[in-house]
């Protein structure tokens, strides 16, 4: 395993070094368009020290988290209910299946009309997208909880619904909840940045838009680095939490690669 870590670290380091040398030392690529990693890092650090850039970063984080929490909680609740209740599912699942492939960003103009303010519309759109993705995931995953486990619990004298939920359904759906959280955070981040790009007046997506239009290359890369760092932190943070909270899952290895 340590061997693997070493190889992986080396692989990343070599790529960064090649990039650095190709641009910075040998001048194979234009450093204004594609600055070497050291320049990107120092520019990003400098911008992060500036309060205005930090405010944009915090705006994105705030929107992403708010939308992710609202969307994931509602999505998981409705999705699990649909997974366990056949009638509810037969009514709602065709609608959910139809909406799932619709890119929520396409609804942004409608949400703006509906909500009135651009700022709230960004959050509502991201929450909406998160809701549908998490709902779909929770619904398909709820089937995976084996009915044999429920039967065993019943046979062993679990009669109350509350106890059934606590002992079987909740632990059984934990892996699912974590996948939902990861999906939710990443979807929310993606839609938030996209919505800021299209219609925001603050946030990382807005910085990307402005620096793209005015060719502010350092800002452009700094915004990309920050957005990527958020995505990486969400994905691997949740994966680490998952390993702690659900140690019995056989999925743990798969999580490390994905």
């Amino acid at each position: 395993m340590d061997d693997a870590r070493l190889y992986q670290a080396c692989s990343l380091a070599v790529s960064l070094l090649v990039w650095e040398l190709a641009v910075g030392v040998f001048g194979l690529l234009s450093p204004t368009m594609l600055p070497p990693p050291s320049t990107v890092a120092s520019n990003t650090a400098a911008l992060l020290a500036a309060a205005s850039f930090r405010a944009h970063l915090l705006d994105t984080v705030y929107r992403t988290l708010l939308a992710a929490v609202v969307g994931s909680v509602l999505g998981t609740a409705v999705g699990l209910a649909m997974g366990w209740n056949r009638r509810l599912k037969s009514v709602l699942s065709p609608l959910a299946a139809a909406v799932f492939p619709l890119p929520t960003i396409a609804l942004l103009p409608l949400v703006i009309l509906l909500v009135g303010s651009n700022q709230r519309a960004l959050i509502v759109t991201a929450a909406l997208g998160t809701f549908f993705v998490v709902l779909w995931n929770a619904m398909t995953g709820a089937r995976g909880i084996e009915s044999a486990h429920v039967d065993v619990a019943r046979d062993n004298g679990v009669t109350s619904i509350a106890r059934l939920i606590r002992e079987v359904l909740l632990p059984g759906s934990l892996p699912l909840v974590f996948v939902g959280l990861r999906l939710g955070l990443n979807t929310s981040l993606l839609i938030t940045v996209a919505a800021e790009l299209v219609a925001g007046d603050s946030g990382l997506g807005y910085v990307l838009w402005v620096s793209w239009m005015s060719y502010q290359i350092p800002d452009l890369y700094a915004a990309l680095v920050c957005a990527s760092a958020l995505g990486v932190a969400f994905t691997y943070g949740i994966a680490a939490l998952y390993r702690v909270a659900v140690p019995w899952s056989s999925d743990v290895r798969r999580w490390e690669t994905a």
Binding site: L92, P101, P103, P109, L113, L190, V198, W212, V232, R254
Partner: protein
Amino acid sequence: MIPFLRRVARRLGTIAAPFLVFGVCWELASGPILDARFFPPPSAVLSLAVELYLEEGFLTHVLASLQRILLATALGATSGVVVGLVAGWSRKVGWVLNPHLALLYPVPKVALLPVLFVVLGGTEMVRVLTMSLAVFLLVAIDTMGGVREIDDVHVEVALDNGAGPLALYREVILPGTLPQVFSAVSMGFSVGFALLVVIEMLAAESGLGYVIWNSWQLFTIPRMYVAVLTINVLGVVFVHGTEMLGDVLTPWEHGQRR
């Protein structure tokens, strides 16, 4: 034959019923409860859809979007499968590629868009490239996971029975990973559509995303609905269609799914 037809009819009925109820509610609410300017009745949207579909102008936008998504998915899926198979099979290649895939995977792809536009120029190729990168990462990582999940026993049995590398790929590895490939391509389509809309809203003069944005600015809300509806239908066809195709083409996976 008759009972079969009856079963199909009933199944279609249960799927269609929620949509009908939803549509009728909307139709009745549009006007008295909902503002008809923002929520035109479905009948008006559908009749406008028929009108627009018969027009050449709207169809060129549909075709532009279709061309982009199909090209991007074809590029991303084929390269993803190749890279995933190799990186999943060879431990060394996996070590070299995995950190890059793992680092790029959580990056919100929309944030890459402005950077790619600045570095490579705002061409049609860059639009397609950004989408295909997202599809590539999904497919590569899932294919890699699929190869790694193949039981060693299957490989050993094949080798003991004299399978060469080609036969091993065809008889063991491909059938073992194909279900993951299909579900990854299906997910790839849904991410691809999201990017497509953002790209067309921001940086294209054609496509359904452009129509949505343009209609919003001209305040021709029904036209926007037709575009959203069209993109939704395309999404359903490609996302769920790929999934169904996977279920049909990989029947050995049935019942094994988690």
